[in-house]
Amino acid sequence: EPEVTQTPSHQVTQMGQEVILRCVPISNHLYFYWYRQILGQKVEFLVSFYNNEISEKSEIFDDQFSVERPDGSNFTLKIRSTKLEDSAMYFCASSEARGLARGDTQYFGPGTRLTVL
């Protein structure tokens, strides 16, 4: 069964450094998402992406964050200048477009644990 993959599984960085988290969504999926989960807290939506543009973003997704689909398979989340509070598990998800008005099932990757020192 196809799965969403994410690399790296764990990233350690210094405060102020740029990081890029990578995701390979399921191949026939058209909607892509990033979520994050700070330790001990709930999973929070960051951004959704469709047709090479952001569909929606949360308040968390400020100017330090950006997303990109650089080729036909990868979907990346970039944090330009990391802060201590960016330490979290970051999950990528994808869903299949069915042409319906309703959201479809989202399939999640295993996550990247980002530690900012």
Binding site: Y31, K42, Y50, E56, G103, T105, P110
Partner: protein, 113 residues
């Protein structure tokens, strides 16, 4: 504002006992609700969604719009059910836009032998 509440952080039961994981939501539109499960060190996996009305691994969940609830139930818990369970609300949008998921805090289910 849209919100999902899972009041219990931890639910501990013995094998063979019934299980009910509570989920309440707040949303003025037509809700689309999901239960996701996360086994130890694994990814979030869809357990079930309310529009499918199916039973997965013996779990069922019924949407109660009057009580704005979507509780997850299983009549006889198994040790392998021990995991983190998340209730999620999908805010579907107009065509060509995906719907973000709003998650509850999660409930850790521990099934003891």
């Amino acid at each position: 504002a849209q919100r999902v509440t899972q009041p219990e952080k931890l639910l501990s039961v013995f094998k063979g006992a019934p299980v009910e994981l509570k989920c309440n939501y707040s949303y003025s539109g037509s809700p689309e609700l999901f239960w996701y499960v996360q086994y130890s060190r694994q990814r979030l996996q869809l357990l079930l969604r309310h529009i499918s009305r199916e039973s997965i691994k013996g779990f069922t969940a019924d949407l109660n719009k009057g009580e704005t609830s979507f509780h997850l139930k299983k009549p006889f818990a198994q040790e392998e059910d021990s995991a983190m369970y998340y209730c999620a609300l999908s805010l579907y949008m107009i065509y060509n836009q995906g719907g973000k998921l709003i998650f509850g805090q999660g409930t850790e289910l521990s099934v003891k032998p």
